[in-house]
Subunit: 242 residues, 2 copies
């Protein structure tokens, strides 16, 4: 089973994703938040690559018809309804609503992955469900890590490694081998043994430290929770739904 | 001590390298070959970003005055004097000569690093000498991994990790901490324990497997040798010298 991990969207852009199932990961916090929103009944999440585009899409649909969500420098954008904290996306707030979302790293990664045959959304919150969906698809896999400001982010690498270890287990395959790329092999090996201390590890990453400084450390504990939900958001017609 | 590792030249290009000491690593094989060439008496190595540019530079200097070196798909370029195998760069062939070199991944990484205050060249062959030079410089460090075709390469990550562990030791500092980026922390942690089996690890990487297929597996063993030379090539006036 061909499994490749890309630590940044730019790396994913160097290969042809056509025919693959892409899994997009932005552990802190966009893909965790998308999972949470859909688990709590949001109708769909439209990713937008920029603030301007998010506002334009919201106005096209009808500003009061959608919730505008997203962050810059970890914080909710002025005039937006919600930020990028999974704890905000409660059933009360998002149930039955359509969301338009833009985040610094997550939404560009979703856009980068969108050339793939399928685009799934993963985080620790839905890790096992996402792995089972990938294994049952059976096609070649491209895990696209959002990274942080176009650079490597440790929390995404660990989540990618934990994911593909579960994919291998669900598919009854050995880890690694010739059809896993270097990044997949490193990520899987590094993730092994980290799962017992996810919150501690995530707090120590650059993204984790930035969240703590911004007063958002509760988000880290939340995003470090394994398998809270058994759902897998998928991008279809420019929108993530279940 | 601020230490950042960038797994690809594109990641390094997202930050301002001014004021930093950059260390460029292309373990298989460009920086290993540059170290070997200078250790064997080459006068200097001029990196060129493309075949066309390498040929143009060589013709400007005088084709017979220089050795044209480099590879595409691991193999010596037609009409070039040498390829990119460190074993070719003997004292007989390169002693006293000026070299113009172009390789798929290594020379673009050197060009990417060239915005830094200093640009040093590292490989396993000169690992401890490079680490000591970095530690005694004392400035912020940017390790630029060449990667492979604009993607992550495991052998460069391990070499980067082994390097910065030695930098920390030489500077009397603990590994990691807030002023190491996520990639530096992963690389250092992963490299620990790999040093006893470098050749095996390098053979299993994507670059290693490509060299084996091309009949160049002796290069892997050579490039996996720790501290064969006590020299540190440095880029000055567009040329790497001692």
């Amino acid at each position: 089973m061909k499994i490749e991990v890309f630590f940044t969207p730019a790396e994913a852009a160097t290969v042809d994703l056509e025919g693959r199932v892409a899994v997009v990961i932005d552990t802190l916090r966009a893909t965790s938040t998308i999972v949470e929103a859909l688990a709590n009944g949001a109708r769909g999440v439209l990713p937008a690559p920029s603030l301007e585009e998010a506002i334009r899409v919201a106005q096209n649909i009808g500003r009061s018809e959608v919730l505008l969500c997203g962050e810059r420098r970890s914080l909710r954008v002025d005039g937006f309804d919600l930020g990028n904290s999974p704890l905000e996306f409660t059933e009360d707030r998002v149930g039955g609503r359509s969301l338009v979302m833009t985040t610094t790293n997550g939404t560009p990664a979703i856009v980068a992955g969108s050339a793939a045959r399928r685009v799934l959304i993963a985080s620790f919150l839905n890790l096992s469900a996402a792995a089972e969906a990938v294994a049952s698809d059976g096609g070649p896999v491209a895990v696209v890590c959002a990274g942080r400001e176009r650079r490597f982010a440790l929390e995404d690498a660990i989540c990618a490694g934990a994911l593909i270890r579960r994919v291998a287990a669900a598919a009854g395959l050995d880890e690694g081998g010739g059809d896993w790329n270097d990044a997949a092999r490193l990520a899987a090996e590094y993730a092994r043994g980290m799962e017992g201390s996810l919150e501690t590890v995530l707090r120590g990453t650059a993204a984790g430290r930035q969240l703590i400084e911004a007063g958002l450390e509760a988000d880290i504990a939340y995003c470090a929770t394994l398998d809270r939900h058994r759902i897998v958001p998928e991008l279809r017609d420019h929108q993530m739904t279940l």
